[in-house]
Homo-oligomer: 405 residues x 2
């Protein structure tokens, strides 16, 4: 008799963004003709142009001619790409990593779950409250979350409040923690930690053998100097931290995603007998058994990003979204709302006025202004009373939406 | 202190195909100038031509113009594609499925592991011996395999011998079984079950509430009439079977893969309290939380497959590989070897002469004939004394390799 994974039964019926989609559809059906503006997106939808697109076409023809092969061409070009990534994103920033430390992937959303797979189900995991919901759901589906409690939190997770009361600087907890997700800039709050604050986390991780899973998906949006783009800017981090990067946030090419995970060779986890094992080696074993390699066209797109022209366009796109974020932030401040984020991230985290709930404010924005934002409580219980506005949109739409407020 | 998933430590150092690659590299270094012919491939490397490639270019330009969007365009086109798949691959064959039964994926290799995720770790899993190694490794990494025994088998798996002694027709086991992988045509043996034989498995599954995971990745190669292409040709199978399909076997476009999983709404697994739960609904929850959708270009390629021209080219490619298989099989028979497969699959399963081991015969073929085949023992202990030859190669290479024997 086939038995099911009962952890799956704990999942909510709908994922946050599925639920938003459903509500927006109802609105559109009941109010035909109204122009809905989406300020809830979490991905770039601007494709790089010029030689980027030409290179895509060229590689497509190469693939069609069967000159591109999975067994030789992809592995060799992947190695070259990895070297370029290290040089561009890390060495230029004074960080020395080896090409063996990097794992290219084609689905950054899954990369965080893949890292969890390498770890025991008995770890106590810490997450920012609020944080990206997929991080939480991954712990649920893989049997690491414990039970859902009355307040909507999970019994086995340690929640690290990240809100106006602590100026969005989560404190290091006093209870046991084995693994901690640090998402910086944080999604959804758009807030960051300074080098000084992040240094405390690295010291804590070294002292307690805690593993840091550092989600740097939004690193390209960091503008302020005292805010690190990579955790490896902090001394000692190469002993305790895994870093995740994604290009869906800067160069969205509609699902032809790529990203990478850095696992320096010194990062370890422990057997129950206390033996340290390299997570890099474990991940390598996983990849050879489970990963078919990055699709050829995603690889070719990634290569184009690491040309001078690609880097230039990527910066332009990031600047475009950051200007959108500034327009949103300025407007919301001017009408008296309390906001965070937006300085090193395209996300603006907004306190709802008069203490109304996240979903209530979401519905007000939708039904009164035809604007879609994201209810903060959807990210975590600690997001209640907030909504997220996103700069991932077209300028004209952002301006029109702001003129409605 | 971060604890690791100790199940990962049970994996062998190298995946089968990584190990072959390593040995071939050593050969190439020590024997420079020799022309090595690969008859070990498991994927097509022939891209469809003509309108297929044109459509790829067209969709690329659509994507670059930002007219293709992840949130609207992909879901809508996916629905249309799903309807076409059901019509082309199932309705034409008298099988009635609903569009809600199908889950498109972009990595068929992972699809089998994704299904396992929905199931309890306490299930006893049956596998053909030999079978595709990723099936076994997925059970190891997810903590379902138990311990590796002296003979190389895993203590919690039930091995179903599939060899010359039982004419490659595995018997239904007498011991408890909760989940069984039926890979038909089987990879690596290239053998199949008739409708009559498969009917016995479906009846067994219904009687015992066993879940069948039917890997039909090679269904497009089935040529004989009494051999089913889909398990749903068998009455009752929609109550107990999940079917996996992959297009990496027919229309390899170098990693831009797509495939799909069929989970009819009646297929259930049970809670420990004996309550039946729809696996379709569980999978839907998983997808909304974990799957970002099929990449736009993979979707556009898949659409081209389901045009009359795409179907025609796909048949031509399959015929090409099947002719390769026939050339290999005829030659091996003519020199007195005992072979199976090759009639409904591009794989030929060859008994090594004089009882030499799989790896020894592999090395003989490599060092004496510069031909790469796949050692049968790499698939499972029951593959010892066999090697696999694959028709996934160029005609000229197949002919040259056979002339060397």
């Amino acid at each position: 008799m086939a038995l099911l994974n009962e952890d799956y039964l704990k999942l909510p019926e709908n994922y946050l963004f599925t639920e938003i989609h459903r509500k927006v559809n109802i609105y559109k059906i009941t109010r035909p003709g109204s122009k809905v503006i989406h300020l809830d997106a979490g991905d770039s939808n601007h494709l790089l142009q010029g030689e980027f697109v030409e290179n895509f076409h060229k590689n497509l023809d190469l693939m069609a001619s069967s000159q591109a092969t999975k067994s030789t061409d992809i592995p060799e070009r992947t190695k070259v790409l990895e070297q370029k990534i290290l040089k561009t994103d890390y060495e230029s920033n004074g960080i020395k990593l080896s090409v063996d430390d990097i794992f290219i992937n084609d689905d950054p959303r899954n990369a965080a779950a893949d890292v969890l797979e390498l770890l025991s189900r008995d770890n106590i995991i810490g997450v920012f409250d609020p944080s990206y919901p997929a991080f939480i759901y991954n712990t649920v589906m893989s049997g690491r979350s414990g039970q859902k409690m009355e307040d909507g939190r999970w019994s086995n997770l340690v929640y690290l409040p990240c809100n106006a009361e602590n100026k969005f600087v989560p404190s290091i907890p006093k209870e046991r923690l084995d693994v901690v997700y640090l998402s910086l800039p944080n999604n959804p709050t758009g807030t960051t930690l300074t080098t000084e604050e992040l240094t405390k986390w690295v010291k804590y991780a070294i002292d307690t053998h805690t593993l840091i899973i550092y989600d740097a998906s939004h690193a390209h949006y960091v503008r302020q100097k005292k805010v690190p783009k990579s955790i490896y800017e902090i001394k000692g981090a190469q002993k305790v931290a895994i870093e995740l990067r994604s290009f869906s946030k800067t160069t969205g090419y509609t699902g032809t995603n790529f990203g990478f995970t850095i696992i320096p060779s010194d990062v370890v986890a422990y057997t129950e007998m206390g033996k340290a094992v390299s997570l890099n080696q474990l991940c390598r074993r996983r990849q050879t058994s489970k990963f078919s390699g990055i699709p050829y066209l995603a690889l070719s797109a990634a290569e184009s990003l690491y040309t001078p022209e690609g880097q230039k366009q990527m910066r332009q796109i990031a600047d475009y979204y950051m200007t959108n974020a500034k327009i949103i932030k300025d407007k919301l401040l001017s009408i008296g709302l309390t906001v965070a984020g937006g300085d090193n991230s395209p996300y603006i985290w907004v306190k709802t006025p008069d203490g109304v709930s996240s979903w209530r404010f979401f519905e007000q924005m939708l039904y009164e202004k035809s604007i879609v934002c994201t209810p903060g409580v959807g990210f975590c219980p600690g997001g209640e009373g907030y909504v997220r506005f996103s700069g991932f949109s077209d300028r004209a739409d952002v301006e029109e939406a702001m003129s409605r407020l």
